[in-house]
Amino acid sequence: MADPKPGNAAPAKKAATGAYTPSGVSPNRRARRSYTIRLWAVRHSRFLEWFYSRFADMFLLLHPLWKALGYNRVETPITFVERNVKGLLFDCRMCGQCVLSSTGMSCPMNCPKQLRNGPCGGVRANGNCEVEPDMPCVWVKAWEGSRNMVRGDAIMNVQKPVNQSLRETSSWLRVTAQAAEAREAAAAAKDA
């Protein structure tokens, strides 16, 4: 009999009776077998923060291009790129409202409880997740990552609940469109 996951009282009890308990059952979709790249991203949160801010500026410079092509039309290819790039680096779940800059470059949607405001009370003493005993807690890593970042204290902000209707949409484009809008509004206010 395989050793049931530690920390799960009910399966352990069931296993003790000799009944079949499948191993590695988890209610949340597991993106990847190992967490190497995700942990690399957290260790290099400072660099990624710097890189993203350049990247966001570039995207904003391209705003006229996105506008000319139409945000609707570029959404599909950009979402494809975003999903794959962020999927590789952060195991991104495409919530469509990225908060990586506020969470030390550790994606909170990988938390089985999808907590966006800090760790739950079930973190194991070794810093691993209570649901997935072999996964380092997303929020333990987030705290470590945020300490390396220039604007790491953004982790103290209370995040709004996830807007589920934005799932599978591009966060990059949304941020760009909003920034452009804010810039235009500021310019209009100046002229007036």
């Binding site: 996951k5 530690p6 920390g7 799960n8 009282a9 009910a10 399966p11 352990a12 059952v25 988890s26 209610p27 949340n28 089985p112 409880k113 999808q114 907590l115 966006r116 405001n117 800090g118 760790p119 739950c120 009370g121 079930g122 973190v123 194991r124 003493a125 810093g127 209570e130 649901v131 807690c137 929020w139 333990v140 705290w143 470590e144 982790i155 103290m156 209370v158 995040q159 709004k160 609940p161 996830v162 589920q164």
Partner: protein
């Protein structure tokens, strides 16, 4: 002389609102007055019999300031916290309704908050909830639509701004005292005090901690909390509880994530003649130690399956200092129910034709 927490017209009557208070509840009054509060947890029954709830609540009567009605704790199915609160408020108890984000989305939760407040629940505790893997239905869909922080904020917005999360207006907002949970005993330890700060920002007015068995560790946490000035913004209740035996303690340590039990505790229990008695004594010792820590406003006694010891523990630790916490009081809605019962007793006949006539002339 009337007790300070009594309606001057009679002990059985509901409390009037006080200025600056967000609820009419006794728990808020006790805490705001600076008295040491005691809360306990009701073990939810696996039955549809209201007597089971009444029996379990009666044990606490006159010993605690609030009864936590847990929302499927440990992700195990039990009677719902809304149901328990409905029964408890009907009988005049003062429940603290727990809401876990695991099972309900924001639509259901906001509805439950309104329903609970309408029943007379004055304290709501916002939790994330254990993962479904911990319970008896590991195949359930984990909802986690909100998290404890956004849940706190949602209820605070409903109360203070009279609005749903969507911005739609409420005609009468729920008057509730908002609580949250803290666990100073799990990593990342440095972040934990800041997380409390976040909870306070989101709306927490009191917090109940996870089981505290490691007092030095808790002292360390409280030091940080005081440095951040958080103890003045929120009431901190320390979670304590008796351990039935060294074996139970060991089992909990190995199987329940988030509960930290140091070796010394297990050793002390193992060395005792009567482990159950020693467990109780240990709980009392911990209460006596934590009540001296600056910034601690009360204790939350979680005596799972040993509820009968709560009274003894509270009595022997002397934390109430002779104060009598609530006895049952009338629910604001009780007079209406009484009136209706009167009518039923009188056997006032219902004339169908007359009723139809009235309905026809007063369309809604």
């Amino acid at each position: 002389m009337a007790h300070i927490d009594e309606n001057p017209l009679g002990r059985h009557l509901p409390l009037e609102p006080l200025p600056g208070h967000s609820s009419r509840g006794r728990l808020e009054r006790v805490l705001r007055r600076g008295e040491f509060a005691v809360t306990a947890e009701l073990n939810p029954p696996d039955s549809a019999n209201p007597e089971d709830v009444y029996e379990r609540a009666a044990i606490f009567e006159g010993w605690v300031d609030g009864i936590n009605a847990v929302d499927a704790s440990g992700a195990n199915c039990h009677m719902s916290s809304v149901g328990i609160c409905a029964l408890l408020t009907r009988m005049g108890y003062a429940p603290i309704m727990q809401i876990a984000c695991r099972d309900k989305n924001r639509i259901a939760i906001q509805g439950d908050v309104l329903g609970a407040a309408a029943m007379g629940v004055t304290n709501i505790m916002c939790l994330t909830g254990d993962g479904v893997q911990a319970g008896d239905q590991p195949g359930a869909k984990p909802v986690f639509d909100l998290d404890c922080m956004s849940l706190l904020e949602t209820v605070r917005i409903m109360r203070d701004n009279s609005k749903f999360l969507s911005g739609r207006k409420l005609t009468s907002p729920p008057q509730v005292f908002l609580g949250a949970a803290i666990n100073p005993f799990a990593p990342p330890y440095d972040f934990r005090p800041y997380r409390l700060a976040k909870k306070i920002e989101a709306g927490a007015q009191f917090v109940q901690s996870q089981y505290c068995f490691d007092v030095p560790m808790f002292k360390e946490y409280m030091k940080k909390v005081r440095d951040l000035g958080l103890d003045e913004k929120c009431f901190i209740l320390v979670g304590v509880g008796p351990m039935a035996s060294a074996r139970t303690a060991n089992w909990i340590r190995n199987n329940v994530p988030g509960i930290h039990i140091p070796d010394a505790v297990i050793k002390r229990l193992e060395g005792a003649q009567d482990q159950k008695k020693e467990g109780k004594q240990l709980c009392i010792d911990i209460i006596n130690e934590v009540k001296e820590i600056k910034g601690v406003s009360g204790v939350h006694v979680m005596a799972y399956r040993q509820e009968e010891y709560v009274a003894e523990i509270v009595h022997e630790s002397g934390v109430l200092k002779g104060r009598t916490p609530w006895k049952r009081e009338e629910n604001p809605g009780d007079s209406m129910v009484a009136e209706r019962l009167e009518h039923l007793k009188e056997g006032k006949p219902e004339n169908q034709e007359e009723m139809a006539e009235i309905a026809a002339h007063h369309p809604h």
